[in-house]
Symmetry: C2
Subunit: 124 residues, 2 copies
């Protein structure tokens, strides 16, 4: 068994260590799931995750998640689970700080790929 970890994770402190926007960094794991912090501003690309739900928790700021037929608004301390297979596009007018929760191995762009795809499984 690994040595006992007795260090809690301060999420906003972890966010403060992020060098750039749109680059999720892993801060903890629970079974085969990862907790990732990210700073985003502006709009992302349309994508979906065919295999899994994806959780967004706003640590600071405001986030809009657009769907093909609607949207959801999240403020600080608010959570939303994007259902598996639902196309979505995150948007933030001003920078928003997020906690993402999803299975290990999920790419930020789903199966879309392209230049907005962030390096995966990088810890901070």
């Amino acid at each position: 068994m690994n040595p006992l970890n007795t260090q809690s994770i301060n999420l906003l402190h972890k966010v403060s260590l992020l060098n750039e926007q749109w680059s999720p960094r892993v801060v903890a794991e629970m079974n085969d799931y990862q907790f990732k912090v990210v700073r985003i501003q502006g709009e992302f690309i349309w994508h979906c995750h065919a295999e899994t739900d994806e959780t967004f928790l706003v640590l600071d700021g405001n986030l809009r998640i657009d769907f093909r037929d609607g949207h959801v608004l999240l403020g600080t301390g608010e959570l939303y689970v994007v259902a598996k297979g639902v196309e979505h596009k995150p948007y933030a007018e001003h920078e928003v700080k997020l906690l993402l929760i999803e299975p290990r191995g999920v790419l930020n762009t789903g199966h879309e790929g392209g230049e907005r795809t962030a390096q995966n499984d990088v810890w901070i």
Copy 2:
């Protein structure tokens, strides 16, 4: 497919709806995992979850999690994942408001049972 959900979940608002301490209530699901809010104060019983890690995120207040050979302290906005099989005992001098994340079906007392076991899978 279910109708699109366009309602975010305000975690502290959900906590404010809790009638009593030590009774986790489900606020959202991600795949086969559940997000639960709970208010606790005082000390719980020693227990562990043999099958799964368990995540604690402090929404408001201070939490100590005791282990047989140490402890971890969490303040507001701090997260900790109790590893599978590790005996632990949550403690809060003053009331603390928590978000718990764990697979559907996990009991608050693990396999210990007894009078502190809360009804499971109740939504708020």
